[in-house]
Amino acid sequence: MTDAIIVEGVRKRYGEKRALDGLDLVAAAGTVHAVLGPNGAGKTTAVRIMATLLRADEGRVEIAGCDARRQAGEVRRRIGLLGQHAAVDEELSGRQNLEMFGRLHHLGARRAGTRADELLTRFGLADTGRKAVKQYSGGMRRRLDLAASLITEPRVLFLDEPTTGLDPRGRAEVWESVRSLVGGGTTVLLTTQYLEEADQLADRVSLVDRGRVIAEGTTDDLKARLGGDRIDVVVRDGAQLVRAGRLLPGAGGTADEVTVDADRRLASAPVADRMEALTRVVRALQEEGIEAEDIAVRRPTLDEVFLRLTGRTEDDRDRVKEGV
């Protein structure tokens, strides 16, 4: 299998600020690869470099077999880009937009027209195709934007935070569209701040922080890195939370790995044996007279993986230690 995206040691500096600090990334053709990271991690810079909108200071970028620097034109024939802000002409209708982009991809006039109609139908915009885009809802705009990225069925599609700013319904619409694309052999690279999104869509995930990849793998790989299952206890009385947290290490974890979330009245710790831990925690809580609202054993979320790998659990851990 060929790699549709190869990024090696890419650096990009804006003055003193290092936006990308040796980014490496490989995505096999026909897969969905998520680049996950907080605001300012360098996700957008990375996409803009891969999509030939920016030039890297250093490093190699190869998209669909073409060098992004030396063969930018060739790369542009092979990619679609969905930026953070809808990259469509608001004054024109949806159909006019798609037709224009089709012409700019050098489809003939008639072909551009039929392609526009096909895409409008496929993205459920056929009824509103003649309305000005500025009258569209956020979700519709995003779908049109996505349609515009797919005029020539790109081999690599970049989606930069495709669902940021959308309501849950709009988000679900976009997810569905992305899933339907993957079947067609397109390689999708998406950036997101939402772990759930990566979990839902991606075959592989690159966790990015401060301009470099700090972990890479399937979502299951990454979750496994946190050491398996966790037990969550939600207490009824917030005042008992710290005491509850102190009971958890006895369930098989160590004091270090207990996290507490005061807002959700939630204490959480890794466990070795699911059933044994559950019984022991239930009993311990009863003996201490702590009333639990909910107890659950589960796989760790990507959130936890991320916080752990970026070393941003310090605050949480300190809170537990002080409490204990």
Binding site: A4, L104, E153
Partner: protein, 308 residues
């Protein structure tokens, strides 16, 4: 990354587009065949670069024209605004002191020049809006000719200003302005005005890219007024304090107004004796040429430089 052999590669460029959504099997096949790189894919192959670039420019021009069709009111307001200014100055404000004969004969050509300078504002707004909407990012990520976006803008703005000029000439005739020169001279006057507009166009594109944000455009929109009024469009420099009059004579807009008045055979009013006033025709050509010479390359470079 050169593919050894790919079964469908001879047909893949066209099929990528044509089979794209008709059958999933077909689109998969074309995707696989091209996934290894090598030959360029995509439609439009076999046509020369120049032909494709011209197509792109035409597509971008049509985009601007489609904007007009969608916003007829805005287009009408854009055409009515300079007409309104002209009527206001002719009937309400009147700076006819020092001008022999009919004030309209003096004012109307000045208003033509002013209209061209005010076009700066329209260009800037359009360019800034585009840059902030992300549309330009899409254009730049497509296999289109680099300059087509700017050419489209330029063609549309020039056309708008030409139409505006024709309307102004019509209204001018209605309020008593006449041309007395030959048809060639009239064409020369129109040419000079369009040249001034062309200079404002590239200045506008460049400034818009520097300013970046629509808020900063407002500042330029305001500054256009004093520049427009520090000219001989409404009154002769003799009516102003000496130093101001001298500045006014060097204003590119004044040079254009004076040159155009001469070409139309209108009374240029009291022409000063400074070098600038005596060589208005030369300056009317030289100013725009210099402005274009400076700002066209700067604007194009800046547009290309978005990738740095």
């Amino acid at each position: 990354m050169v593919s050894p052999t790919s079964p469908t590669s001879p047909t893949s460029p066209a099929s990528t587009a044509s089979t794209a959504s008709t059958a999933s099997t077909a689109s998969t096949a074309s995707t696989v065949s091209t996934a290894t790189g090598g030959t360029p894919v995509g439609p439009g192959q076999g046509r020369s670069r120049t032909a494709l670039a011209l197509t792109d420019c035409w597509t971008m021009t049509r985009r601007e024209l489609a904007h007009w069709a969608r916003q007829p009111v805005q287009v009408l307001v854009g055409l009515a605004f300079p007409v309104m200014l002209m009527l206001m100055f002719n009937y309400l404000i009147g700076g006819g002191k020092g001008i022999t004969g009919d004030y309209a004969e003096f004012l109307v050509p000045g208003m033509f020049a002013l209209t061209m300078v005010f076009g700066l504002d329209a260009t800037m707004v359009a360019v800034t809006t585009d840059l902030n909407k992300g549309v330009v990012d899409r254009f730049r990520s497509m296999p289109m000719a680099n300059g087509a976006v700017l050419v489209g803008r330029s063609a549309a703005d020039m056309l708008q200003s030409f139409v505006s000029l024709i309307v102004m000439m019509g209204v001018g005739l209605a309020i008593g302005w006449r041309w007395h020169g030959s048809l060639a001279e009239v064409a020369g006057a129109v040419g000079l005005l369009m040249l001034l507009r062309f200079a404002m166009l590239w200045l506008g594109i460049h400034l818009a890219m520097i300013a970046g944000k629509p808020e900063l455009v407002t500042a330029v929109q305001i500054l256009v007024w004093p520049v427009g009024f520090l000219s001989n469009a409404f009154t002769v420099p003799e009516n102003m304090p000496g130093w101001l009059g001298a500045a006014v004579e060097w204003n590119p807009m004044s040079a254009a107004a004076t040159a155009v008045r001469e070409l139309f055979g209108n009374d240029p009013g009291v022409v000063g004796t400074s070098w600038a006033a005596e060589h208005a025709a030369l300056l009317a050509v030289l100013w725009p040429v210099v402005l274009v010479g400076v700002f066209l390359p700067l604007a194009v470079r800046r547009f290309g430089g978005l990738s740095r």
